[in-house]
Subunit: 141 residues, 2 copies
DNA sequence: GCTAATAGTTAACAAAGTTAACTACTTTTA
DNA sequence: TAAAAGTAGTTAACTTTGTTAACTATTAGC
């Protein structure tokens, strides 16, 4: 690692600590952070499958299975069996689930607001596009 | 949230998912991610106290207590009782602990390397300074 | 049509968080 | 200055959420 990489590494480490430290821990609206993240994912990826969710969060099928069971049992998501492949269940967020996502105090929103106060409009756009660029490149794995 | 904030929010969400998904899960060198993060923190904050570690990671004193017990028992850190206040124990990383931090495959290093390949030198510096700026502002809480 | 692969589940367990109640020590205060 | 209040850290009991192993049901390949 050269000097620039080292400096990036340090600030990225701070960022990771910040994210871990500020992630909602207990329940909010009767839903844990894990539940919330899954609902939000399904919201953003309508009719996705359990397999996809497991992959997105890098957790095992049984872990997702238990989470989905809770979310289904509490009417936060619904599933419908695929006609093309009956092993597969497509997931949909219910109104109740949507309500939670739309109304939860989300720490990322707070961050977005703080960031837009800290940076100029140009800086914010620049940061967003740099982050998008590296995220896009990470995806390619 | 205006359009720019919304775009930042989206990429920041992706970043959070990425960090959560890629954080080391199982043991590496006989040490879990939590252990590793604490060792690294103590490395970077020599003679810090359990209280400080708990605050840095936003976890409760008993949670830290158990982690430190493991790290002490495995000779990864050491503690010395404060002379000024005998309730307090200062933490120091041992050679063994330092070895683990210096030699672990750390996903943030991989990220730093990938990022420096994706962005130009100017972009990398720009990203680092923008992130440092927002991190600095978050600290002020 | 048998074999292999895939989506998801159940059971048993481990890691790491929580709160409540505790010890030991320090600081405040009446 | 002795009692009260506060602080650093620990122990115990519990919860959440991850894991692997073994399972069912379904689909795809030869």
């Amino acid at each position: 690692m050269d000097q620039d990489q080292r400096e990036f590494y340090n600030v990225f480490t701070d960022l990771q600590c910040f994210i871990l430290a500020n992630m909602q821990k207990g329940d909010i609206n009767g839903v844990t952070a894990t539940h919330y993240n899954i609902i939000e994912y399904v919201y953003r990826h309508d009719k996705c499958t359990g397999k996809q969710v497991a992959k997105a969060f890098s957790i095992s099928p049984p872990a997702i299975s238990r989470q989905l069971k809770f979310l289904l049992g509490n009417g936060l998501i619904e599933q419908e069996q695929s006609l093309a492949d009956r092993r597969v269940f497509h997931l949909i967020v219910t109104d109740k689930g949507r309500f939670i996502v739309d109304n939860s105090e989300n720490f990322r929103e707070t961050v977005a607001q703080k960031v837009s106060k800290t940076l100029t409009k140009t800086e914010l756009k620049s940061l967003t596009s740099l982050l998008a660029k590296i995220m896009h490149n990470m995806d390619e794995h």
